[in-house]
């Protein structure tokens, strides 16, 4: 029988739950002539700040076993380019869910950027990345304490009526308390996980591989940790979760959904294989058939 891949995320009907994660798919436009974008259920766009940013110095990439480290440092053209050029250009060629990913270095900047994104009719969901360092608080990331995570959430909640997701950093002691603080402060959903802080050293040159020394570790290696965190958060919160971290196959998507994810983001895998998302969408019906699944909605959070 025909398999039902559709899911409903905060009232938005998605043709399937597969979403390239922010930072691993540009603004969707870069690959538009190399694939059928409309196979993909949603696209989380490159993280955007108030002003354009160059980001960190190169090298920004390090190879790891079953994964990679990136230290791009939020290179982006700024919020005005996102809402005036990138999102409208993508909408002209893309029918499904457009997710704007918003960053900031102060609460005021987050609020400013979300207010701009809120007025952009092409954007369906706003996803706020709270892994950025707070310049007013010694550079500690907003997402590392429940209190500051809630402060960002409350501030951006005032600026938008669109579905609001908070993307959490996994580099914390208690992910559940942070997720619950975001939920209490008005988040409509949680995306998790962002990358794990990692580091590689070139032992011949006796120096870090990455110019910025440390960066975010992602790829297949983090998948089990991401599944665990998605499971914990989705069972502790009432709001939906977009699962992210090390997903590279249709089987991984199903595992994430069984853990509790309503939608599933594919990150680092896009860098090895830009066609990963449409290939996963194509593979899902066959895998569902083997597993006796008729509708993906039926398996969300089935693990007690």
């Amino acid at each position: 029988m025909v398999k039902d891949l559709s899911v409903n995320l905060c009232g938005i009907d998605m043709v399937n739950p597969v979403v390239p994660a922010s930072g691993t798919f540009g603004f969707g436009l870069e690959l538009a002539d190399s694939m059928d974008l409309n196979k993909i259920g949603g696209i989380s766009l490159k993280g955007t700040t108030r002003e354009a940013r160059y980001g960190n110095e190169s090298p920004r990439i390090a190879e790891c076993p079953s994964g990679m480290i990136n230290s791009v440092g939020l290179q982006n053209p700024g919020i005005d380019v996102l809402v005036e050029e990138k999102a409208p250009s993508l909408r002209r060629i893309y029918d499904n869910c457009i997710i704007a990913n918003i960053s900031g270095f102060s609460i005021e900047e987050y609020a400013y950027n979300v207010a701009k994104a809120d007025k952009c009719s092409e954007i369906d969901i706003i996803e706020v990345n709270i892994s950025c360092p707070n310049v007013h608080n010694g550079g500690m990331a907003f997402g590392t304490s429940a209190e500051s995570a809630a402060q960002v959430t409350a501030a951006v909640r005032k600026e938008t009526t669109k579905p609001l997701f908070i993307k959490l950093s996994p580099n914390v002691t208690d992910i559940v308390s942070i997720a619950k603080a975001c939920e209490a402060a008005g988040a409509d959903g949680i995306t998790l996980v962002n990358t794990f802080l990692g580091m590689r050293i070139d032992i011949k040159k006796r120096k870090p591989v990455i110019a910025n020394k440390m960066g975010g570790f992602s790829g297949n290696a983090i998948f089990p940790i991401a599944v665990r965190m998605v499971y914990q958060v989705s069972h502790a919160c009432k709001i939906p979760v977009m699962g992210c971290g090390g997903v590279s196959s249709a089987e991984d998507v199903i595992e994430m959904m069984m853990a509790g994810a309503t939608a599933v983001q594919v990150g680092a895998e896009n860098l090895r294989n830009p066609w990963a998302c449409p290939e996963i969408v194509d593979a899902l019906p066959g895998v569902m058939e083997k597993l006796g699944i008729d509708s993906l909605k039926d398996i969300i959070g089935i693990i007690e």
Partner: protein, 246 residues
């Protein structure tokens, strides 16, 4: 349009110190130009390996690579018949039409590989081609016979003086005084920087950086230029000399 296809290894032989020539076949291979690169998936490695194109025509792709790490070490052991997942075409190549009459092609080490492809493209346009190649020592020399096959006698510089001019590529240029209205170069950054300072003539340089996606959407390989931040993989790897901030 970028695509990925399976390419079959036809041959894979060592040609110089740590340096291998791999010839691959793929009937669906897209059109490729000098200065562009391909991205190769290697079993057991996470990211693809970007390798510059030494020659590509009629479904046959030639790559020259040096064993510098684990990925290229795996490549060096590949037998004919091995199938490889390769993404292409990537990057902007050299602008052949920027040459009026005669070009100077300068390759340092394996930077010789794209220069071979470029020499063929320039000759096909009826341009005069001068080639200068720099190596550390004689056992590293590559592609000399290939250039001769095009009717070009490369001027060679070696650091130890074992072949050609002793010293840098700029020493070989100073000694041989080739005439050119544009130069094209690929090789170590210090060599290209010295070359740009040495000549007052316009040129194009192929930059190198650790890459993520190779196709311009991950922003893993940024560089500063006089017109702002650029992606080496997508906006380059070939940049005008005047654009580069060394």
């Amino acid at each position: 349009m970028i695509r990925k296809d399976f390419y079959t290894v036809v041959s894979n032989v060592q040609e110089a110190a740590d340096t291998f020539r791999m010839v691959l076949e793929c009937p669906e291979m897209p059109e490729l130009h000098a200065g562009q690169f391909v991205d190769i998936m290697i079993d057991g490695k996470y990211l693809r390996r970007p390798i510059s194109v030494c020659h590509a025509a009629e479904g046959r792709l030639t790559l020259m690579y040096k064993v510098v790490g684990e990925g290229t070490a795996v490549m060096s052991g590949m037998e004919p018949g091995t199938k490889l997942d390769i993404m292409a075409p990537l990057g902007n190549g050299f602008n052949v039409s920027a040459c009026e009459e005669s070009a100077l092609l300068v390759g340092g080490g394996l930077g010789a590989a794209p220069m071979y492809f470029l020499a063929k493209e320039l000759l096909a346009q009826g341009k005069k081609v001068n080639v200068v190649l720099g190596f550390n020592r004689a056992p590293e020399l590559v592609l000399i016979e290939d250039f001769r096959g095009l009717g070009i006698e490369p001027m060679v510089a070696t650091m130890d003086g074992s072949v050609g001019t002793k010293g840098f590529v700029t020493d070989a240029i100073a000694q041989n005084k080739p005439e050119y209205d544009i130069f094209y170069t690929c090789g170590p950054l210090p060599m290209m920087k010295a070359l740009c300072a040495f000549t007052g003539i316009h040129g194009q340089c192929s930059l190198e950086e650790r890459m993520g996606c190779g196709a311009g959407f991950c922003y893993g390989c940024a560089c500063h230029t006089k017109s702002g931040g650029k992606r080496v993989c997508k906006d380059g790897p070939v940049f005008d000399k005047e654009e580069i901030i060394w």
